[in-house]
C-alpha cells in the first residue's frame, strides 16, 4: 500500500513531465527565433538592417560585398503569388466539390489523392520541373531557358494545393447544417446554397487555408531551387513605364539562397551571419502569414481556437 504522499508526489511529477512536453513547442519556436537573431546579429551590426531590407544587390562574396535582400524577397513573393493565382481557384473549387457535391465513393478517391499529393517530396517535384516542365515552358514562350519564376510557380501551386484543399474542406464541412436547410426550404437549389450560403459562411476558414498555402509556398526550398534558375536580378520588367513582376525570367528566392550558400560559407564570416539574417526574414515572413491564418481561423470558430 503506497502512502498518499508518495502518490501525490508521483502524480505531480507525471503532470510536470507532460507540462514540459506541452511547453516544448513554445521553447523550440523561441529557440529558433533567438538562434536566428543571435547568429544574424553580427551581420546586422556590421551592415545595418537598412541595407538588408531595402537594397537589392546580393553579392556577399564579391570584392565589394552587397547584402541587399530586396530582390530575393520580391522573387520569393512573386513565385509564391503566381502559385496562388493557380492554386486558389483550383483548391477552393476542388474542396467545394469534395465537401458538398461528390458522391461518397468519389469523395474517398479524391481525399486519398490529395493525401498522396501532400506527401510528394519537394525534390521530386523539382526534378519533374527540371526534366519536363522547364523545357515545356521554354517551348511555349520561346525562351532559351525554361528555368523561370513561372516554372517555379507552376510547381509550387501543386505543392500548396493539398494544404488549401484540406483546410478549405474542413471549413466548408463545419458550416452548420441549419443554414443550408433553411436555404433549401426557401426553394434554393443546391448550387445556390453552395454559392450563396456555404462558401460565404466558410470564408474566413478559406482565407486561413489560402494563407497557410501561401506560407507553404514561401517556405518551399528544393522545388524552387531546382525550377527557377536562381538568377540574382530584380524580377521586374517595365510595361509602359510601370514596373510589373516578370514571370518569364529566372529568379532566386530566400530559401534557395540559404540552401545554396548555407553550408558553403566560411563559418563565422559576415557572409555566414548574413544567411541567418535571410533565415530570420523568412521566419518573420512566414510567422506573419501564419498569424493572419490564425486570426482568420479564430474568427471562423467564434474566438476559441
Amino acid at each position: 500500500m503506497k502512502s498518499t504522499k508518495t502518490l501525490r508526489i508521483k502524480n505531480s511529477l507525471i503532470r510536470l513531465y507532460f507540462t514540459i512536453n506541452g511547453a516544448l513547442a513554445i521553447i523550440i519556436l523561441l529557440m529558433i527565433f533567438f538562434f536566428l537573431l543571435n547568429e544574424g546579429y553580427p551581420a546586422i551590426k556590421e551592415i545595418g538592417l537598412g541595407e538588408f531590407l531595402f537594397k537589392s544587390r546580393w553579392m556577399p562574396s564579391s570584392g565589394d560585398p552587397g547584402y541587399g535582400t530586396l530582390a530575393l524577397i520580391l522573387s520569393t513573393l512573386i513565385v509564391a503569388f503566381g502559385a496562388m493565382v493557380i492554386s486558389i481557384p483550383w483548391g477552393i473549387v476542388t474542396a467545394g466539390y469534395i465537401s458538398e457535391i461528390a458522391p461518397k465513393k468519389i469523395q474517398e478517391i479524391l481525399k486519398t489523392t490529395i493525401e498522396t499529393l501532400a506527401v510528394f517530396p519537394s525534390v521530386v517535384l523539382g526534378f519533374i520541373a527540371l526534366t519536363t516542365v522547364a523545357p515545356l515552358v521554354a517551348r511555349i514562350f520561346g525562351l532559351s531557358n525554361g528555368l523561370t519564376a513561372l516554372t517555379g510557380s507552376i510547381m509550387l501551386s501543386v505543392m500548396a494545393l493539398p494544404t488549401i484543399i484540406s483546410i478549405s474542406e474542413d471549413a466548408l464541412n463545419s458550416v452548420p447544417k441549419e443554414y443550408k436547410e433553411a436555404a433549401i426550404a426557401m426553394g434554393a437549389t443546391r448550387w445556390e446554397v453552395l454559392k450563396k450560403v456555404t462558401y460565404p459562411s466558410a470564408s474566413s476558414g478559406i482565407l486561413a487555408a489560402v494563407m497557410l498555402g501561401f506560407g507553404r509556398a514561401i517556405g518551399e526550398t528544393m522545388t524552387v531551387l531546382m525550377a527557377t534558375g536562381n538568377s540574382l536580378a530584380m524580377p521586374m520588367t517595365d510595361i509602359h513605364g510601370i514596373p510589373f513582376p516578370d514571370f518569364l525570367t529566372s529568379v532566386r528566392t530566400l530559401t534557395a539562397t540559404i540552401a545554396i550558400e548555407g553550408s558553403d560559407v566560411p563559418w563565422g564570416s559576415i557572409h555566414y551571419h548574413s544567411l541567418f539574417v535571410v533565415g530570420a526574414i523568412l521566419f518573420v515572413l512566414t510567422f506573419i502569414i501564419n498569424l493572419i491564418a490564425d486570426l482568420a481561423i479564430n474568427r471562423f470558430k467564434g474566438g476559441n481556437g
Binding site: S61, S62, R252, I260, D264, P266
Partner: protein
C-alpha cells in the same frame, strides 16, 4: 489492428537495434578514434566526381577502408575543415589567410597539397559560330557591358545569357578574381547549382555562355581563350596547353588536410598522388599534375615527416 501495430513496432526495434549496435559506442563526433579506417572528404563541386573516383578505386584496393565523399562547394569543405568535421577538404581555390586563422582558432592545423589540374572551360552552344575570345572580352560578357552576340560577329545570336556557378563554388571565386577582377556580374546572370547544370543549360540555350571545370564539358563547344589580342588562342581540351601554362584560366586543385596526414589519410593521399591516382584524374576529365607541382608536395612532405 493489434497485430499490425505489433509488427510495426517489431520492425522498428529491429532497425534501431541494428543502427545502435553498429554504433560500437563511438561517442566522438566525426573525428578522432575513427581516423584509422575512415576518411571523410568534403567539398568542391568541381572535384566531387574526381574525389569519388579516387575513393571508389582506393576502396576496391583496400576493402577494409572507408572513405566518405560529400559534395557542396569548396566553401563547404573548407567550412567543415575549420569546424573539425572532416579529414580532408577538397578545394578548387586557395584557402584564405582568414580561413586558415579560423581553423587554427579551433585547433585545426591545415596543410595544403596539390592533387590535380583543371582548365576552366568557357562553353557555348555548338551552333554558336564564335570560336575565340580574349580575357578582356570574357570580362565584358560576364560583367554585362556587352550583351549581344552581334558584337562578336554572330548577328542571329541575340542577347547573351550568362551562366555562372554559385558563390559557394571555388570555380566561381577563381573566375571572379581572375577574370572579373571582383566586379559585379551581369544583371541577369543565372547562378547554377553545379557545373553539370551549366553544361546542360548550354546544351539547350543557343545564346548562352558559361564557365566550368573542363571535366564537365559534354556536347558543348569550348571557346579558345587568349591572354590578350596579341597572344595565341588556346583550347582547354588539350593537356599540353594546360601543362605549358598557355591556357589562361587553368588552376590547381587542392586537398587541405586536418593536421599532418597520418594513417588512412596519409595512405589515401599517397594513392591520389601515385601514378594510378593520377591516371584516374584523366578518367574524370581533368589534367595530371606537372612535375613542378609534384615537387611542391615533396617539399612539404620533407618538411613535416
Amino acid at each position: 489492428m493489434k497485430k499490425i501495430l505489433a509488427a510495426l513496432i517489431g520492425v522498428f526495434i529491429l532497425v534501431i537495434g541494428g543502427v545502435t549496435a553498429g554504433c560500437g559506442g563511438s561517442g566522438d563526433a566525426g573525428s578522432g578514434d575513427k581516423r584509422d579506417t575512415m576518411v571523410e572528404i568534403q567539398g568542391s563541386d568541381t572535384m566531387v566526381n574526381l574525389n569519388q573516383n579516387w575513393a571508389e578505386n582506393y576502396m576496391d584496393e583496400n576493402p577494409e577502408k572507408y572513405i566518405s565523399v560529400t559534395g557542396g562547394g569548396s566553401g563547404t569543405g573548407i567550412a567543415s575543415l575549420i569546424n573539425d568535421d572532416v579529414d580532408i577538404a577538397g578545394s578548387s581555390r586557395d584557402m584564405t589567410e582568414e580561413e586558415i586563422g579560423d581553423a587554427r582558432e579551433n585547433d585545426v592545423d591545415v596543410y595544403e597539397f596539390l592533387v590535380a589540374q583543371d582548365g576552366l572551360a568557357v562553353g557555348v552552344h555548338e551552333d554558336n559560330p564564335v570560336e575565340d575570345l580574349t580575357f578582356a572580352e570574357l570580362k565584358e560578357i560576364f560583367t554585362g557591358t556587352v550583351t549581344d552576340w552581334s558584337d562578336f560577329g554572330w548577328d542571329e545570336g541575340g542577347e547573351i545569357t550568362v551562366y555562372s556557378r554559385q558563390s559557394n563554388s571555388g570555380t566561381y571565386v577563381y573566375f571572379n578574381e581572375n577574370v572579373m577582377d571582383g566586379e559585379d556580374w551581369a544583371d541577369d546572370a543565372q547562378f547554377m547549382s553545379g557545373s553539370s547544370a551549366i553544361n546542360d543549360a548550354l546544351n539547350e540555350d543557343k545564346s548562352g555562355i558559361g564557365y566550368y571545370g573542363v571535366g564537365y564539358v559534354d556536347g558543348v563547344k569550348a571557346i579558345n581563350v587568349a591572354y590578350d589580342e596579341d597572344s595565341d588562342y588556346y583550347t582547354p581540351l588539350d593537356a599540353e596547353n594546360i601543362n605549358e601554362g598557355n591556357y589562361p584560366i587553368a588552376r590547381p586543385l587542392y586537398f587541405y588536410t586536418n593536421g599532418v596526414p597520418e594513417g588512412s589519410v596519409k595512405e589515401f593521399l599517397d594513392f591520389v598522388l601515385s601514378d594510378r591516382g593520377q591516371e584516374l584524374v584523366v578518367d574524370a576529365g581533368f589534367y595530371q599534375m606537372t612535375p613542378e607541382m609534384h615537387e611542391v608536395n615533396e617539399e612539404l612532405f620533407d618538411e613535416i615527416y
